[in-house]
Symmetry: C2
Subunit: 343 residues, 2 copies
């Protein structure tokens, strides 16, 4: 896509919600040009502000996933896990969530209740209560069953500073488990592809693992990001650009379930661009990398964690993939929208 | 509507988003039965939690108003004012907001930018920055132009405790200005009624006035509520029920613009049930009432403030209107949805 595409079209495209290049252009050209402040402009998974002598993390996310029920989860638990994970990606301990529902007239109350039960279970399991809520209803045909917004507040431990800008040459890049599970599962479920395999969303809260990781490695953990929309590829590009570093990823080191790998090959989709909803990228100072890896692997959330790459100083903002065939491929942010409404 | 209506129908109705009786039933039967915790169950305009030795207020609201541009404002500034006001209703000083957008494919980017400019202006004027954001896009026909969620955090001054449960016999009830302006304006604009008069939404931030009010009167201010969906009638019913008190309102004391009064009469709509987006109800200890009234009247937000009623001990949960004709009428929460998507 040409960088000028946004200005050649005068309407919102699905692509603007992809989390890729069009999203970034919309954010920079429309949102940040009017709403600019340094906290918003940092474009981290959560904002961090000083309050009452401590640091608070604050984040918001709307969930419009289609279908609303999918193998491994539903829009309800996804909306709890996703926002908890955004808080965790700044090292914050989540303390509470809000829940805003936009319901379509005619939506089955039975389905609504299933989703609320899923939200309640996720809230209970994570120990993060939903303390504020709002419900709106729009006429039939002006919405799609249910859209959910969750916002969350967390406490950042004193002196902990985890952010994309802290990625630096020498850092080791880890991923907490297999990639592309959520994106591939939604794709297969939505299109009723009859592929064999254990296709299940990875939707999962990561704050427990992150709490342990930061308690052990402290600020040796430089960057945490959960590669949701746009996948691992787009998220790494954002980190490389923000920190002004180069990131090299080893394709063979990427953990991926065989069925996901086969499905992606059959469907012609690159798993590096598919969404994950229970994984994080960890950029850690080299001396602490092995400790971080072992710690992650000792927990269920990180049992398939792997070292997948490293950060270097050359070619700022560039992400490269060392392919299995021994070549090198440039990794760019997602363009186009292969899979709308993934989360 | 019978209290059993919710269970006779198995799908979401517009009425469930009205802020009236059906909304309350949905909240109690579906949300609170699964998500119960004392903070959520208090159903105040904001949740208040202790944090780091102080109190934080937290609130969320989704905005689905139709039309998105209306006399006096648009969905953008409304989404900033509304959430700031929800924080102010607990006496909190708003400190930051999040902004979650759900855009419909095909929405004009020019209109999006107008709304973002309006949000930026409201944020600047109120001094409350938007520090976190999220944008999703849904396919054409699965949304309606733009839905906005804003969530907000505020600081509650030490020892200040403003809540519906604090309303008590002897309290004086004030309203900060003319009622029904927003609801009537949206109704007229949406239906293109050609009525003469100064129909303009009252969308306005109230935190400045509330800060002064609470700084001067402290905990003599017992309850603050902004009567949005469901209007003054429904909000007073909620307060009366929560606090277990009776509230009596003097119809002749209700400030209302003549054109709004005439329009409501012509359209057969009771202004007590129409939404306000820049007004608050203030329940204050009798000795402080006159001071509160004068303070409100000294500010632009409260220039038409008036004493409209009082709280007594009899008939808990009951709201009565002393009519202009000298009679007494029972005021009940909104049933049915006369005006969907008012905010």
């Amino acid at each position: 896509m040409s960088p000028f595409t946004l200005f050649q079209k005068d309407t919102i495209l699905l692509d603007h919600g992809s989390g890729g290049l069009a999203s970034q252009q919309l954010i920079k050209n429309i949102f940040l040009s009017h709403l600019d402040n340094p906290i918003l402009a940092s474009l981290e998974d959560s904002a961090v502000i000083e309050h009452n002598g401590g640091n608070l993390a604050f984040t918001t996310d709307s969930y419009v996933v289609d279908p609303i029920f999918f193998p491994g989860g539903d829009i309800g638990c996804l909306s709890i896990h996703g926002t908890i994970n955004d808080l965790a990606m700044r090292g914050a301990r989540p303390i509470c969530l809000s829940l805003g529902l936009i319901l379509e007239e005619g939506f089955a109350i039975e389905d609504l209740e299933k989703i609320i039960i899923s939200i309640a279970r996720a809230s209970k399991e994570t120990g993060v209560p939903v303390i504020a809520g709002d419900t709106k209803v729009v006429p039939k045909g002006k919405g799609d069953k249910i859209f959910i917004n969750t916002s969350g507040i967390g406490t950042v431990p004193p002196d902990l500073d985890i952010a994309s800008r802290r990625a630096q040459p020498g850092d080791i890049v880890l991923v907490s488990g297999t990639i592309a599970d959520h994106g591939a599962t939604i794709l297969i479920k939505r299109n009723s592809f009859s592929l064999e395999g254990d296709f299940v969303s990875d939707t999962m809260p990561l704050h427990g693992m992150v709490t342990e990781l930061t308690a052990t490695c402290g600020n040796d953990i430089h960057t945490l990001r959960d590669p949701t929309r746009g996948g691992v590829a787009t998220t790494l590009c954002e980190i490389a650009e923000t920190a002004g570093v180069k990131i090299t990823v080893d394709e063979e080191a990427l953990p991926i379930k065989p069925c996901i790998s086969v499905a992606c090959e059959l469907l012609g989709i690159d798993p590096l661009y598919l969404a994950n909803e229970g994984k994080c990228l960890v950029l850690v100072a080299e001396p602490a990398a092995e400790k971080a890896l072992q710690l992650m692997r000792s927990r269920p959330e990180g049992k398939n964690a792997a070292i997948i790459g490293k950060v270097t100083a050359g070619s700022k903002g560039r992400v490269e993939l060392r392919t299995a065939a021994g070549g090198t491929r440039l990794v760019t942010p997602l363009t186009g929208e292969p899979l709308p409404r993934i989360c």
